[in-house]
């Protein structure tokens, strides 16, 4: 449990640094550090499937962020301090912490008390599906419908990116609207 707290403090520090830094490249790298900390945490909790997926998606997101955002000349942010934003943050943070306190008291102990559904999966995967990797058996056999929905979400997002970034309907450089108008 001790390593978990170390990684968690590292991730919190990384997130705070990512918010506070002015340079966009440094922020993106700090976000990447948070994601890698999450990957290490999945490894410590013995969830290698999630660790591989987290690591790989984190690298892909970092490459896309650096290439598509930094490369287009947006390198610095100008944050605007506003006391209304600060007040709203304090109110929402207090409400969230209270709700989290109420919820966490109901949660079973860390790593204990599995539900009957997951007990069923653990007992029956090898005899019913004959797959050695139980996570794969759950997401593609017992819960295949959810995975189909997930694939549909990914398909829709790819189509949306291609539609927004398409070349045909884009304006020429001289008839483009003024920014901030």
């Amino acid at each position: 449990m001790f390593e978990l707290y170390v990684v968690m403090v590292f991730m919190i520090i990384g997130a705070v640094v990512a918010v506070r830094l002015r340079g966009l490249l440094s922020s993106v790298i700090a976000v990447g550090a948070v994601g890698l900390g999450l990957c290490v945490m999945f490894l410590l909790l013995r969830a290698p499937d999630l660790a591989i997926t987290q690591l790989v998606v984190e690298i892909l997101c970092l490459v896309i962020l650096i290439r598509a955002t930094i490369g287009r000349g947006i390198s610095r942010l100008q944050p605007k301090a506003n006391r209304w934003i600060l007040a709203a943050f304090v109110i929402f943070a207090a409400g969230f912490l209270y709700a989290a306190y109420l919820a966490i008291r109901q949660v079973p102990d860390f790593g204990g008390a599995l539900m009957s559904t997951s007990q069923f999966y653990i007992a029956n995967t090898l005899s019913k599906v004959k797959a050695a990797n139980i996570v794969s058996a759950i997401i593609l056999d017992f819960r295949g419908y959810d995975t189909l929905g997930e694939a549909t979400v990914l398909f829709t997002s790819v189509i949306a990116v291609l539609a927004v970034m398409r070349r045909k309907g884009r304006k020429k450089i001289d008839e483009r609207d003024e920014p901030n108008s």
Binding site: P48, V63, I64, G71, K128, K130, A131, L140, V158, M165
Partner: protein, 146 residues
């Protein structure tokens, strides 16, 4: 954007195949070891992104035509949906037919799960690589216009 230096290009030529092989391994062994279609597909997409980052857009576009991306994305999605619909012929959506053949812990086991992994890997790899390609292209077009 003509790509990076000669050293980077040379090393990329040697490593990109290994990265892609690792992605294919992760996809095919999704039902035996950690990983699966999604993670393996993203690794395959990263191998192509590696190629684009090292060689620049123009040279890399010759190696990977854009039609393959559309084909892979659509074919992967349709294959996954088709596997689900075949089960409907026996009455249940996503029925794992022929799961009784094959022994556990072998490569040929677990019924339709390897096929689903291949479909998802194809779809995720092509889709995420298309997203990266479009974002990179967008930046370059804007620079050429100015």
């Amino acid at each position: 954007m003509r790509g990076m230096s000669l050293i980077v290009k040379r090393i990329t030529k040697y490593t990109v195949g290994l990265i892609m092989l690792f992605g294919i391994y992760i996809v095919l062994h999704g039902h035996l070891s950690p990983g699966g279609g999604f993670a393996g597909g993203v690794i395959i997409a990263l191998s192509f992104i590696h190629l684009i980052l090292a060689f620049g857009r123009k040279d890399a576009e010759k190696m990977i035509p854009g039609k393959f991306l559309a084909l892979g994305e659509s074919f992967g999605g349709l294959l996954f949906l088709g596997l689900a619909l075949i089960g409907l012929a026996s009455g249940v959506f996503f029925l794992n037919f022929f799961h009784s053949k094959g022994t556990p812990f072998n490569l040929l086991s677990a019924g339709i799960i390897p096929l689903c992994n291949i479909a998802i890997g194809l779809k995720v790899g092509a889709g995420l690589f298309a997203v990266f390609m479009v974002l990179a292209l967008f930046r370059i077009d804007e620079k050429e216009e100015k």
